[in-house]
Subunit: 160 residues, 3 copies
Amino acid sequence: MAEKDKLSIVLFSGEMDKALAAFMLATTGASMGMEVKIFFTFWGLNVIKRNEGSIRSRGLMRKMLNIINRGGSKRLKISKFHMFGLGTWMIKRLMKDINMLSVEEFIKLSHEMGVKLIPCSTSCGLMGVDQDAFRPEVEPLAGAAYFLAEASTSKVSLFI
Amino acid sequence: MAEKDKLSIVLFSGEMDKALAAFMLATTGASMGMEVKIFFTFWGLNVIKRNEGSIRSRGLMRKMLNIINRGGSKRLKISKFHMFGLGTWMIKRLMKDINMLSVEEFIKLSHEMGVKLIPCSTSCGLMGVDQDAFRPEVEPLAGAAYFLAEASTSKVSLFI
Amino acid sequence: MAEKDKLSIVLFSGEMDKALAAFMLATTGASMGMEVKIFFTFWGLNVIKRNEGSIRSRGLMRKMLNIINRGGSKRLKISKFHMFGLGTWMIKRLMKDINMLSVEEFIKLSHEMGVKLIPCSTSCGLMGVDQDAFRPEVEPLAGAAYFLAEASTSKVSLFI
């Protein structure tokens, strides 16, 4: 029967270090032949927002939120020692030094390897953004039921 | 034999956004016919503490802790952009705007749908609280061994 | 066939409370006869660094990082209410009061119970540390592929 092994990840966090952990696992899984899906929810949506242009959203409060919480793979911060950007800059330098991919590069590689990048529809509703807020590599929105159905048939499910 | 699919969640965090993620998954799982349990541990205990009255606890230090760390579904803060309450207030407004349930409502709905809300006994010992600190919807305390036994027979287990 | 049940944990966080949760689950799992592995990644590496002496690392930036981010089981802070050390001190007092093990003691007990403590090789590369930075209880470094292979055959996998 040899069904393909599946790996399902929820990325709730919008921090650079947690995004790196998610993509490291996702691309490793894909290279091992696993079928990999990442569900981006809440702050995690920031990871897959477009880097360019402004993000359209409905209503004044959501417009404000999407300015404060702009997102985009190139704007993510580390969860500790951000230190007004110094810590994040330092970690990025160290990553380059060992030839680790940036989040931007990981997104592209994941997509090429067939990893599905899926935004959570409820979170999108809450934040007032739609498909247009996201990069072209991103799949159509899906809900929690879709995630649970996937996770139920996955060998590994993780909440990051 | 068509055993019921199970979903087991540890909620370690006491933040509003993570609690919402946990209840969103829990209620979705229940609506799909899954048997769902949430184990509240450490800061997560705050989510299911009573909103009213003071929390009794043993010893001066635990009394202090339970004042600083009062808890209750209506006192939870978001993990980012709390901004002295402004960010949390804003997210609550946005939630209402799209008819998303509050944590308070999610707890009641989960309970009605048969989701089991279980406080971790070791965390309760540490924080010096007992069953009396919790809402009526909450099950008796249980330990890590109970969680692992449940998780071992669950299709999906998540640590939030 | 009665394969041994397996529990695989990623510990990404270097905070005392999350480390306690990981070790509580790990030792409970081991006492139930499960085969337990903890993969320490990113800030989680701090948990298993040696407490004594300085940590050698390559290059000026990594040396700086390993001073700021020194680590060691005895230097971990709680994720909330650290309050310049007061909160962390208080939680440690409360732990002692109920005879809960410290992270230091949990590491030793886990090791004695056969729990494998495994540092993530990519994180070590990033942080510029090698096996020498870790305590004697720690296994050789391993990568994400090893974790996924383990998790795929585990009853329970958690990301903490």
